[in-house]
Amino acid sequence: MGKVIVCRCEDVTLEDLRQAFAAGHRDLESLKRFTGLSTGFCQGKCCAAHAGRFLAELRGGDDMVCDPTRTRPLLHPTPAACFAAIASGEAPDQEDA
C-alpha cells in the first residue's frame, strides 16, 4: 500500500500515527501533539474522526473507546479584522475583512 495521508493540512500519514503509537502515544491528545495531526487549517474537521478510528483499532480489545480531542474555537477560520471590530465597538464589516 502506498502512502496514506490522514491529515491533509499537516501531511500526517497513517504510518506517522503508527509510529507515534509505537512510541507510546495512545490517546488522541498526545497523537495530535506528537504528529501535528488536526492542527492545520481544518482544525481536525477532516482528520480527527479517521485518526480516532485508527487509534481505536490499534488499541484493540477492550480499549477501543478513545475520547476526541478537546474542541477549541474558532469554529471556522475568521479574519482578525472581524474580531478587532468587536473590541472597538464598531460593527464587523464582512466586506472589508
Binding site: D27, E29, S30, R33, L74, P79, A80, F83, A84
Partner: protein
C-alpha cells in the same frame, strides 16, 4: 509503576522534565515523574515558545542566557527538532517611564554581555515590515532572543530522561503526600504509591494544590492566560514584538502562524482554561493596531493555560521549612519555558552535589515571610 524511587517529581511539564533530564544525565536516573494528563497538558504545551534574554534583573538575564545556550544544542542532544529560531525580540515603549525602564535594562543587559540595543521607532519599522509605530517612544531589540516550538522540547526531554532510567507516568495523579515526623515517606497516586524521601513540586498552575497535599501553603496563584494563532503565512516577521503598554506580544512560528497574546487586567486567579471572545477581540484589535496589514489574516485557534504567579514575579525554588525532602520548583509565571533549561540544570546540581546554591537560596519559600523580595519588572502577557 515503580513502588519506590530516589526522587519523585510531581508534574511532567518543562520544569519537571528539565530537572529529570539533567539529573538523569548526571547519573541519577532513579526518578518517577507523575503527570495527571498527557505530556504537554499543562502550560508547557500551551505557551508561545518565546525565549528572551531581555530582563530587568541580573538573575533572570543570566538564567535566560544559559537557557538559550542549552536550547541551541537541545535538538542535537535529544534528537527532536525544537524549531528554535533566533529572530530577536523587539520591545516597544509608549511613555517616558517605560522608555526609561528600557534604557536602564539595556544598560544592565549590555554590562552582562548581551547584544541588546535601543532603537528609534523608525529603526523598528525597518526591522518589522508594516509596523505602525505611532505613539511609540523608544524600542529595545536583542537579535539573539527567539522563539521555539514547545512540544518537541517536552518530547525530547522526556525521551532522553526515559532512556536514562526515568519513569514517566502520564494520566496519573498525585492525590496525597505522606509526611511522617516532618519527613516525606511516600507519594500516593490514583495508580498506586511510590515510597521516596524526596518529592519535587513541579506542578505549575497546580503548585499550591500539590503543596497542600503535604500541608504546605505557597503564595502562588494560577491565572488564566489566553493565546491564539493565525493561519500560516509566508515568513515575514523576524522578531517577537512586545508592546509594554498593554502586554501584547506576537511572533511568527516556524510553521508560519502568527502566535500571540496580551495581558488582561481583569483576569482574576482561577483554574479556568476556557477561551473568551473578550480575548479574541482585544488581541485582534491590538495586533491590527501594530500591524494593520494583517486585517484579512484568519485566526485559526485560541486556547488558554495557567501562569503560576508569585507575589514578586520570581520562582519558588528549593527546600521547604518543616517538611524534610519537599522541594519546590514552581512559580514561573509567564516565562517558565525560557528559564527551564538553566533552572533544571542548576537544581539538578544542587540536589546531587548538595552544595550551597545562591540562586536556590534567594528564591526559597522563606523570602515571602522574611520580606526580602527582588521584583522582576519586565513581566508581560
Amino acid at each position: 509503576m515503580r513502588d519506590r524511587a530516589e526522587l519523585v517529581i510531581i508534574g511532567g511539564g518543562v520544569l519537571g522534565l528539565s530537572l529529570a533530564y539533567h539529573l538523569a544525565r548526571m547519573g541519577l536516573g532513579d526518578i518517577v515523574v507523575i503527570e495527571q494528563g498527557y505530556l504537554c497538558f499543562g502550560a508547557s504545551g500551551r505557551n508561545g515558545g518565546g525565549v528572551r534574554q531581555q530582563w530587568s534583573t541580573e538573575d533572570h538575564i543570566r538564567l535566560a542566557r544559559r537557557s538559550v545556550a542549552i536550547y541551541r544544542r537541545l535538538a542535537a542532544e535529544t534528537g527532536f527538532n525544537i524549531w528554535f529560531r533566533q529572530g530577536g525580540y523587539l520591545f516597544l515603549s509608549r511613555d517616558a517611564v517605560a522608555a526609561a525602564t528600557l534604557e536602564r535594562n539595556v544598560k544592565l543587559q549590555n554590562s552582562l554581555g548581551l547584544r541588546t540595543r535601543l532603537l528609534s521607532p523608525a529603526q523598528a519599522r525597518r526591522l518589522v515590515d508594516g509596523l505602525d509605530t505611532s505613539g511609540v517612544e523608544l524600542c529595545a531589540y536583542n537579535p539573539d532572543d527567539g522563539v521555539l516550538f514547545p512540544w518537541p522540547v517536552v518530547w525530547g526531554l522526556a525521551r532522553v530522561a526515559t532512556s536514562l532510567g526515568v519513569e514517566i507516568n502520564t494520566f496519573c495523579r498525585a492525590t496525597a503526600i505522606d509526611v511522617q515526623g516532618g519527613r516525606i515517606v511516600k507519594v500516593v497516586t490514583d495508580r498506586g504509591a511510590v515510597a521516596t524521601s524526596r518529592v519535587v513540586n513541579a506542578a505549575g498552575g497546580w503548585s499550591s494544590q500539590v503543596a497542600r497535599l503535604a500541608g504546605v501553603e505557597l503564595p502562588n496563584r494560577p491565572y488564566r492566560h489566553e493565546i491564539l494563532v493565525s493561519e500560516p503565512l509566508k515568513p515575514f516577521l523576524e522578531p517577537m514584538v512586545c508592546d509594554l503598554a498593554d502586554g501584547t506580544y506576537f511572533s511568527q512560528t516556524m510553521r508560519g502562524e502568527i502566535c500571540g497574546g496580551l495581558s488582561d487586567p481583569l483576569e482574576h486567579s482561577s483554574l479556568n482554561t476556557s477561551s473568551s471572545l473578550r480575548f479574541l477581540s482585544r488581541m485582534s484589535a491590538s495586533l491590527l493596531r501594530l500591524l494593520p496589514r494583517l486585517g484579512g489574516v484568519k485566526i485559526l485557534r485560541q486556547w488558554a493555560g495557567y501562569y503560576d504567579e508569585t507575589p514578586d514575579g520570581n520562582p519558588v525554588l528549593g527546600r521547604t521549612a518543616g517538611v524534610e525532602g519537599f522541594i519546590q520548583l514552581n512559580g514561573f509565571g509567564g516565562h517558565g519555558f525560557m528559564l527551564a533549561p538553566a533552572v533544571g540544570q542548576i537544581m539538578a546540581e544542587w540536589l546531587l552535589r548538595r552544595v550551597r546554591e545562591p540562586l536556590v537560596e534567594r528564591y526559597g519559600l522563606e523570602r515571602f515571610s522574611s520580606g526580602q523580595l527582588q521584583r522582576e519588572t519586565l513581566v508581560i502577557g
